[in-house]
């Protein structure tokens, strides 16, 4: 019985709460289940409790309340060094007084592994991250990206089933970061390791993860695969946090199945898909992705509601056009259109009409 269940919940947080000072809950009622082999990213603004969750899992902080289970066993009372969890720290935490080889061999030494076996594993781990030639160097003699690889190799060398990474790419430049993102996901999937990854870079979260947990205010706001997260945000925080987003606020005036009509504060009416609203009269914030806004009225259905908009700014970005509009009360309504031959290039001051498919406009909590 345990096996099947453990496969779906290799890591499990149940009603976990954490407070550092006895006054403020930094983590409020965290519930999370991770199957084996999953790459899960914790994404959220600074101070939202991501690191705290990771530290509780690693054993460096104790949960104030609730249960954390690893492979079905509660680990609340297991000290960190017995949890067998690999960890990559934000600043890598490579031991400066040891060579790269010694750094990697350290976890094996404390596990009392024989010398030859140790050397072989260290070599294999270094080769895995393409750092085989650097075994005798000190961490200070490596570049940021190389240190990052070594940190990764060190976290993996003792073959943990679970690896935690706290913003491991935060210190790298964009190009290197993208390369490493790819390498990390690749490694994790190849080795079948369960990974919990913390970042506040949403692109990183979306490109790397099987599932993303969006944190805010000590809670998981939404836990979903990247595409779902982007296209079907469950609340306005997630909608705002992930990707670019236009918001308009108003009141629901009509509900019919998975469609509703929202009357904006400026008086105009639009079509939307009810997500977090259930009754006529509810206040709501609707969210529309810039690339889902249609500027060509002909492509919309006959009975679709449209809005009048004034072009404020037109930015040519190569592959796309980015247009800023005044819609209702908002001066910051962005539309992104593909650079195609039939696409008109709008001029500031021009008045246009915009609309969208009802399912692209999500009526969320106010």
């Amino acid at each position: 019985m345990a096996d099947t269940q453990n496969d779906n919940s290799f890591v499990e947080f149940e009603r976990v709460q954490k407070s550092y000072d006895g006054e403020v809950l930094v983590v409020k009622d965290l519930n999370l289940q991770m199957p084996k082999g999953e790459f899960l990213t914790m994404l959220g603004p600074s101070g939202s409790g991501k690191t705290t969750c990771l530290m509780m899992l690693a054993g460096f902080e104790t949960a104030t309340h609730g249960d954390i289970r690893l492979d079905g066993k509660s680990i609340n009372d297991i000290p960190p060094h017995k949890r067998g969890i690999g960890m990559v720290f934000q600043n890598y935490a490579l031991f400066p007084h040891m060579t790269i080889g010694e750094n990697l061999s350290f976890p094996l030494e404390v596990r009392k592994m024989g010398k030859s076996e140790r050397e072989e594993k260290v070599k294999r781990a270094l080769d895995m991250v393409e750092m085989g030639a650097f075994g005798n160097r000190r961490p200070a003699q490596l570049s940021g990206g190389q240190q990052q690889r070594v940190a990764l190799a060190r976290a993996l060398v003792f073959e943990p089933e679970l690896v935690l990474m706290d913003e491991p790419l935060g210190a790298l430049d964009k190009q290197l970061r993208e390369k490493m993102q790819f390498e990390i996901t690749h490694l994790a999937h190849n080795l079948g390791i369960t990974t919990v990854y913390v970042t506040h870079d949403q692109t990183e979260a979306l490109t790397m993860s099987d599932r993303v947990a969006v944190f805010d205010d000590g809670r998981i706001q939404q836990l979903a695969p990247p595409d779902e997260l982007y296209e079907e945000p469950q609340n306005s925080f997630v909608a705002q946090f992930i990707g670019e987003n236009n918001t308009l606020s108003g009141v629901v005036t009509k509900m019919e199945g998975d469609k509703c009509v929202v009357k904006l504060d400026s008086g105009e009416e639009i079509d939307a898909k009810p997500v977090n609203v259930s009754n006529v009269g509810d206040r709501t914030t609707v969210s529309i992705r810039p690339e889902r806004v249609e500027t060509n009225k002909e492509r919309l259905s006959k009975d679709a509601h449209t809005l009048k908009a004034e072009v404020l700014e037109f930015i040519y970005m190569g592959d796309i056009f980015r247009t800023r509009l005044r819609v209702g009360d908002s001066d910051e309504f962005i539309v992104k259109t593909r650079n195609a031959p039939d696409q008109p290039r709008l001029r500031p001051g021009e008045m246009i009409e915009i609309g969208w498919l009802p399912e692209d406009c999500r009526a969320l909590d106010a």
Binding site: A58, R83, F95, A155
Partner: protein
């Protein structure tokens, strides 16, 4: 190389070679920087370098024998000290005039003190000899005055001696006085020895010039109105007794020629200076006294240094001092050994405190930091005295132990006036110097290292020992150097709680500076201490590497 035209050197905008322009700009910068630090440089030079250099010089300097006995030392060159004979009369004669001047200037006791370091008893010998040196001269004075009453008159003497052409002699004697007293002897004498008298009676002329210089410059009297010193009479007798001069005196025509000729014809006392000195103090007749003077007559001497390592310079070379006078090697050893123990205790006690300071929450750490710094705000003397209160046999610690029954009332622990007291008190006093560098190093070790180690499977102890400790070693190094170097030269605390067993070499240095006034030995001991510290520093650099020391 794209900026160069052809193969010539690279040129700056104004056409000068770039290297030259750069050099000029850098030089200006350097000069400005130098001007900025000049006051500090000057300060360091004045307060640091000069005293140290003067200490180094003082540890080998030995001018006192030469300046106090300027005639005797050259005269001794002809004497072979290894024969076992005392020096010839000539040396004693020079000794008489040197001693006479020295006792007038009250410098002879200083020489006695100096030589006493090397040969006990010489101090009193010089003192008594100086006191009654006049007696020797009086023998001659009385005889001369008996023969001719005119020699009682200062004015007559002046008439005989005064003249022209003796400026060289005056300059020479003046320089001797200046060397002897370390004071300026410049000024108009109102007297110049006549060249004829100098040729006729060289000893008398010299003695009279000495008398004249001292009378005018130091006593501020007029030469012609003063009766000459006994030494002048003795010098006259020496000159007159010399048979080689008899003919010249007979043919002399200058002032007082008749009086001189009368004296020359008369019978003068046959007293030799050798006998005279033996009369003053029989030790003058001992060879070893003269050997000591001979060995320590050069301007520079290794004597103080040899003394510092329980050796002495004798006529047969360097030899160990007698067993009961050996002191310093043991003291150096004890100083080093106890400093090592103190440093070790500071590490053992300071490490956990520094760790707490670096890892406790800021507020608690601040309170703890104040506790660590508190001793700095209390006078060292007060702290050490407080230890006295604690450590006495009737002190707090003993009372407590007795009361708790750990120690029998009759066998109270002796915690003070021995090395235990010094170690306890100095460990306490030097502890902050260990804690602060340790703390500042530990502060820079991020806690993530420990976490990383534990996440890799290390127990608390392994994580500490393999990961944290090695990174804190530079702090231990810095703290140890500080504490050790401070301890090695510590003075007040051992002085107060150390008794005799617990004193350091510095206490001995202080003793020689302020009590025995043997500054040369103090300087030599200090120099050895300095060299020792530098050697240890060098050793440390070789073994640990000085760039591994971090103060923060």
């Amino acid at each position: 190389m794209s900026d160069t035209t052809g193969s010539g050197p690279m040129l700056a905008a104004d056409g000068r070679p770039l290297k030259e322009s750069l050099g000029r700009a850098l030089r200006r910068q350097k000069l400005r920087a130098l001007a900025l630090i000049a006051p500090l440089l000057l300060f360091v030079l004045l307060t640091f370098v000069i005293p140290i250099v003067s200490m180094l010089i003082r540890s080998v300097e030995n001018e006192i024998v030469e300046t106090t006995l300027p005639g005797t030392v050259p005269a001794m060159a002809a004497w072979d000290s290894s024969t076992g004979e005392i020096p010839p009369e000539d040396v004693f004669q020079n000794l008489f005039f040197d001693m006479f001047n020295a006792s007038e200037a009250k410098e002879h006791t200083k020489l006695g003190t100096r030589l006493n370091y090397e040969n006990t008893g010489l101090a009193s010998m010089f003192r008594t000899s100086g006191r009654s040196i006049d007696d020797i001269g009086e023998v001659f004075q009385d005889a001369i005055e008996d023969i001719d009453e005119r020699w009682e008159e200062g004015a007559f003497w002046f008439e005989v001696m005064n003249g022209a052409g003796g400026d060289a002699l005056v300059a020479e004697r003046r320089a001797r006085w200046e060397d002897l007293t370390d004071d300026s002897m410049a000024g108009d004498l109102g007297f110049t020895p006549s060249q004829a008298i100098i040729d006729l009676l060289p000893n008398t002329a010299a003695a009279y010039t000495d008398f004249a210089i001292w009378t005018v410059i130091d006593d501020e009297d007029v030469v012609a109105e003063e009766d000459p010193w006994e030494a002048v009479y003795a010098a006259l007798a020496v000159d007159l007794r010399d048979p080689s001069r008899t003919a010249a005196i007979a043919g002399y025509q200058g002032a007082g020629a008749d009086a001189l000729q009368a004296l020359s014809a008369a019978e003068l006392p046959g007293l030799t200076f050798t006998e005279a000195f033996a009369e003053l103090d029989e030790d003058w007749g001992k060879v070893d006294v003269w050997q000591t003077i001979e060995v320590y007559s050069p301007t520079y001497t290794p004597g103080y240094f040899l003394n510092s390592v329980d050796r002495e310079l004798t006529i047969d070379g360097v030899q160990a001092r007698p067993e009961n006078e050996q002191l310093y090697v043991k003291l150096f050893g004890r100083t080093l050994w106890m400093s090592l123990i103190i440093t070790t205790s500071c590490i053992i006690l300071g490490y956990p405190i520094a760790w707490l300071l670096a890892n406790l929450p800021v507020r608690t750490a601040n309170v703890l930091m104040i506790l660590v710094l508190l001793p700095f705000w209390t006078s060292l003397l007060v702290r050490t005295s407080a230890w006295k209160v604690l450590l006495q046999q009737q002190g707090v610690i003993n009372e407590l132990l007795v009361w708790l029954g750990f120690v029998d009332d009759a066998n109270r622990l002796i915690l003070m006036n021995n090395s235990t007291g010094t170690i306890i008190a100095m460990t306490h006093i030097l502890l902050p110097f260990m804690i602060l560098p340790l703390y500042s190093v530990m502060k820079t070790i991020p806690p993530t290292y420990l976490r990383a180690a534990k996440s890799l499977g290390a127990t608390n102890w392994t994580a500490f020992w393999r990961v944290y400790f090695p990174q804190s070693v530079p702090g231990i190094g810095a703290g140890s150097i500080l504490v050790f170097i401070l301890a090695i030269g510590y003075y007040i605390t051992p002085e107060i709680v150390g008794g005799t067993d617990g004193v350091f070499i510095s206490n001995r240095i202080a003793y020689h500076i302020s009590r025995s006034l043997n500054w040369g030995l103090a300087a030599a001991l200090g120099t050895i201490l300095l060299v020792l510290v530098m050697a240890l520093y060098w050793l440390y650099d070789r073994i640990v590497g000085i760039d591994n020391v971090k103060l923060g």
